[in-house]
């Protein structure tokens, strides 16, 4: 039986209560145990990279944090809410208020403009229309993404920056990213990685980033490896960053 992961935050950015607390999380599918009493915490202002081989359960972990998958046991507490207990409206409110997600391919609605894509997240969080669009416009300007045109016409870097803008527009306490640089060239990858790992301190939130890329993981405050259902600390030299 693998040793259950128990990596407490080595780096804390001043908050006493962790923004994300995963305790004894167990998840199995088809007889295979993907998460075995896994434990990890991420504090406000901290970025943590999760690495691990394919099929190790990294994306499943994100699904559990998003409330898309229900774990067999354990708790996932985000800013005081136990995600495993949330249903319906409370789960929807949790998703748009407390969490921001960056997908591997951006996952923008192709028929909408970048501005509309970013504003959509704010509108779904019941924000005022004018303020939603104003904030979306400001974020896109800061990140250097055009507002208009179809989103599927954006370059890979623009698409991911627009996805970042969408993830942070509601000022969530936790941002999670699933292979956000997986589809990018090296230069764009570094720009997006830099942007992402800079977010926790710039916006006082926590960041959990799932990546295969050691260079990206090395930019995070901490890196952990998910192996046999448990987290272990990963040692990554800063030199790996291009």
């Amino acid at each position: 039986m693998p040793m259950s992961g128990n990596i407490e935050n080595a780096v804390s950015a001043g908050s006493s209560r962790p923004m994300l607390e995963i305790a004894d999380l167990t998840y199995s599918v088809g007889g295979k145990v993907l998460l075995d009493r896994a434990r990890v915490t991420v504090s406000r202002g901290e970025s943590v990279a999760v690495m691990g081989p394919s099929g190790s359960g990294k994306s499943t972990l994100l699904s559990c944090i998003l409330g898309l998958a229900k774990p067999d046991a354990g708790k996932i507490v985000v800013d005081g809410d136990d995600v495993t207990q949330l249903r319906g409206r409370r789960l929807a409110k949790y998703r748009h208020d407390k969490i921001g997600m960056v997908f591997q391919f951006g996952e923008l609605v192709p028929e909408l403009s970048p501005l509309e894509n970013v504003a959509l997240a704010a509108l779904l969080a019941h924000n005022n229309r004018r303020s939603s669009y104003t904030r979306a416009r400001k974020l896109l300007e800061e990140l250097g993404v055009p507002e208009t045109g179809r989103s599927d016409q954006l370059s890979g870097g623009e698409r991911q920056r627009a996805a970042v803008a969408r993830a942070i527009i509601n000022e969530p306490g936790l941002i999670i990213a699933d292979e956000p640089t997986g589809a990018l060239d090296e230069e764009t990858r570094n720009q997006v990685a830099e942007l992402l790992v800079g977010l926790p301190r710039a916006r006082e939130c926590a960041m959990l980033i799932v990546t295969h890329d050691a260079a990206v993981a090395a930019q995070a405050d901490r890196a952990v490896t998910l192996r046999q259902g448990a987290f272990t600390a990963a040692a990554l030299p800063k030199a790996t960053v291009a």
Partner: protein, 731 residues
């Protein structure tokens, strides 16, 4: 943000997404047509109820209030209903005789007809134009107005016979008009019941429209499913997803609903003559129920919106993935229900007595259920077929087939959508043919028989209350028209005796015998047919020279007079009919040999015309469903294949993948549907009541292959257009 403002923004986002999505135009067309079909079907269903209710009101208004011995009112008139025939169809003739000067006039008449006069409905005057109908009852001196007719085309006559020719046995004393409890009169005797009509409209209009709606709602579903999965991940609740979905589909739904309302406006503004069945829908009836019609239309629009929203919300099932794929599971349960529904359709009716409403209803429910579930089964078959195809293609290095096989195995629901129309079309076409055969075959046989008999012999059935003197007058009146033969069937003597002059017997190719007793035969087909009609098993058939007017009858016998042409030419039937009404109480039934058979068969033939008309609507709608469903899926498929085609510089990949993913599923659906359609028709064909035409099955197979080919070519054209516009984007 207040709810109104948020709703507006979400609707607008849905609108934007819908108008610019990859299959946006196709879905717009599909949803518009589907909602319009739903609106028209619902309006048709409402029209059935409105029309039957309005007919019933007018039928009550003209129904006589019978004077009973203990009723306080006084009799004001004599009233009696009988039948006559025109254009080989029966209609009602009402004999009237006012008893007091101020007797209330029947609805639709401006005055009581004078003795020897008649008032005809416009429908009867038109139908009987070639049969001198205006001279049949004496003097045609009036027209029955709309208030006296259940429908504008109804065939009806009010006849006031000359003095002494009232058919007393059928006359009753009446106190006026407006009885709600009289037996039906006029067209009500010959039309289908409202419940049957509702069932036919539901099956041939609502079900196909619903199939089209399901296909249309899921056109280009892949992109929308991803969008909704993403919105859910971003924290969009059910309300947000509903509003975005509504915004996406609202334009075509509103467009179609406006189209439906325009149809309602047309129905209420002027009378409409429905082509092919030539039935008049009265604007006045529709105006009285305009709220119902508008409600039917709006409810259809609303139902379409609900289906669109549900399909968007049910489509993207929750998956254990951090990527919003919006991928749906295989429709295993729906597919498993298809054989169950097939069993309900074929064996379920056996649980109830034949011809009972539940017997028919079970069959219809089973057929409708099978049509809705069968596409899922086709989809599942395609999934396994696709797996095999991909495996074989990989072995034989066939890239297009490999792609198509993978697509078919991963998208069984898409295959189900693409083939739903063809499955339903084939099964409904077989049902229509079986019904038409059941209702229409007898009329074809009857027409053949009547054609063989020709017009050189006419049968006259005299009503029972004719006095001998009146019969003499009748024979005198027809003396110059033809030679009479009287046929008397007597159960007492177990004989059929034909009495006529020797000349008349010779004309009928019958022997001139001085006494009865010899079994006779005739070489004339019409005479043989006449004897077959009048004969009974085990009876002796004989002919005897004598005066037909004096031929003896006992109380159990029944008789008919056959008039035969003395020179072989056609007899003047209108003249015989006019002579009968001029000399006999209540006239006489005059028809060609086999004419009764034709008259009875024509009632069913007229019903069959409705089935054919509604069936055409059904097939057009289902053909649209098939085309749009297949194209909708292939457009997305083409976009996915565009880079491969561009990079390889060859479009051959489209040829083979299109053949496998468009042509093969459609022909496969046709191949599955034909035997299942035959099975579904089993309750109708059981015991030889009707039959499935082999020609139709052959035509079905050819038609499906042609449709599959046409859609395949269209799909190739679409893919060529998409490829020529494709450009790489993103990194």
């Amino acid at each position: 943000m207040n709810l109104r403002s948020r709703t507006f923004v979400l609707l607008r986002l849905g609108w934007r997404a819908g108008t610019t999505s990859e299959a946006g135009t196709l879905r717009y067309i599909a949803l518009t047509l589907a909602t319009l079909a739903m609106c028209l079907s619902s309006v048709a269903l409402a029209t059935v109820d409105i029309t039957y209710a309005a007919r019933a009101d007018r039928e009550v208004a003209r129904a006589p209030i019978t004077h009973l011995p203990d009723s306080p009112g006084k009799p004001v008139a004599l009233w009696g209903a009988s039948f006559d025939t025109v254009d080989d169809r029966q209609y009602s003739v009402v004999f009237v005789e006012p008893l007091v000067p101020d007797a209330p006039i029947p609805p639709g008449l401006s005055a009581w007809p004078a003795p020897g006069h008649a008032a005809l409905s416009p429908g009867l005057a038109e139908a009987g134009h070639g049969e001198s109908i205006t001279a049949r009852f004496g003097v045609a001196a009036g027209v029955i107005g709309p208030a006296g007719l259940s429908a504008p085309d109804e065939r009806l006559a009010y006849v006031r016979p000359p003095q002494g020719l009232l058919p007393k046995t059928i006359m009753q004393e009446i106190e006026g008009f407006g009885s709600p409890s009289q037996p039906p009169l006029g067209d009500a005797l010959f039309i289908q019941s409202a419940s049957t009509f509702r069932l036919v409209v539901s099956f041939l209009m609502i079900v196909p429209a619903f199939v089209l709606l399901l296909v249309a709602a899921r056109t280009g579903a892949k992109g929308r499913d991803q969008r909704f999965a993403l919105v859910a991940t971003l924290g969009g609740g059910r309300y947000a997803r509903t509003m975005i979905s509504l915004g996406d589909g609202i334009l075509p739904i509103v467009t179609a609903s406006v189209g439906g309302l325009a149809a309602v406006a047309a129905l209420t503004s002027s009378d409409l003559r429905i082509p092919f069945v030539k039935y008049h829908l009265l604007a006045a009836d529709m105006k009285g129920s305009v709220t119902t019609l508008v409600a039917a239309c709006l409810i259809s629009g609303l139902a379409s919106a609900v289906i669109v929203i549900l399909s968007d919300n049910i489509g993207p099932r929750r998956r254990r993935s951090t990527r919003p794929t919006g991928k749906a599971k295989s429709p295993v349960w729906t597919a498993a229900l298809a054989p169950v529904m097939l069993l309900v359709a074929t064996r379920g009716p056996d649980l109830f007595p034949a011809r009972s409403p539940l017997h028919m209803l079970t069959n219809y429910v089973g057929v409708a259920g099978t049509l809705l579930m069968l596409p899922a089964l086709v989809g599942l078959c395609a999934k396994f077929f696709g797996m095999r195809l991909a495996s074989a293609a990989r072995r034989w290095r066939l890239s297009g087939s490999l792609l198509a096989g993978r697509w078919m195995s991963s998208e069984p629901r898409a295959v189900a959508r693409a083939t739903a129309g063809i499955v339903a079309a084939v099964c409904i076409l077989i049902q229509i043919q079986v019904w038409s055969s059941f209702l229409g075959d007898p009329v074809r046989e009857a027409r053949t028989a009547v054609a063989v008999a020709g017009d050189g012999m006419q049968l006259v059935k005299v009503k029972s209350d004719a006095a001998p003197q009146q019969l003499d007058h009748f024979y005198t009146a027809i003396a110059g028209i033809g030679l009479p033969l009287k046929l008397v069937n007597s159960p007492t003597t177990r004989s059929l005796r034909i009495t006529a002059s020797c000349d008349a017997l010779k004309r009928a190719d019958l022997p001139c015998a001085a006494s009865a007793g010899t079994e006779i035969r005739s070489r004339q087909p019409r005479t043989r047919m006449l004897i077959d009609i009048m004969d009974s098993p085990g009876y002796t058939v004989s002919s005897i020279v004598g005066d037909p007017a004096a031929a003896t009858e006992d109380k159990d016998s029944f008789s008919v007079v056959a008039l035969v042409s003395d020179n072989g030419a056609a007899l003047d039937r209108p003249a015989i009919e006019a002579a009968a009404y001029r000399t006999l109480p209540g006239g006489a039934d005059v028809s060609r040999v086999g004419g009764d058979w034709l008259v009875g068969a024509n009632v069913n033939a007229d019903h069959a015309r409705w089935i054919v008309l509604l069936g055409v609507f059904s097939l057009v709608v289902l053909a649209l469903a098939c085309t749009l469903g297949a194209l909708g899926e292939y457009v997305r498929w083409s976009r996915a294949l565009a880079p491969i085609s561009v990079l390889s510089g060859s479009r051959r990949v489209f040829w083979s993948s299109g053949a496998w993913s468009v042509f093969v599923p459609i022909t496969l659906a046709g191949a599955v549907s034909i035997p299942i359609g035959v099975l579904l028709a089993y309750p109708q064909t059981e015991g030889g009541r009707s039959s499935v035409s082999a020609d139709l099955l052959q035509a079905c197979a050819t038609g499906v292959a042609l449709i599959g080919g046409a859609i395949y070519l269209w799909a190739l054209k679409s893919s060529r257009d998409i490829t020529s516009k494709w450009q790489p984007n993103g990194n």
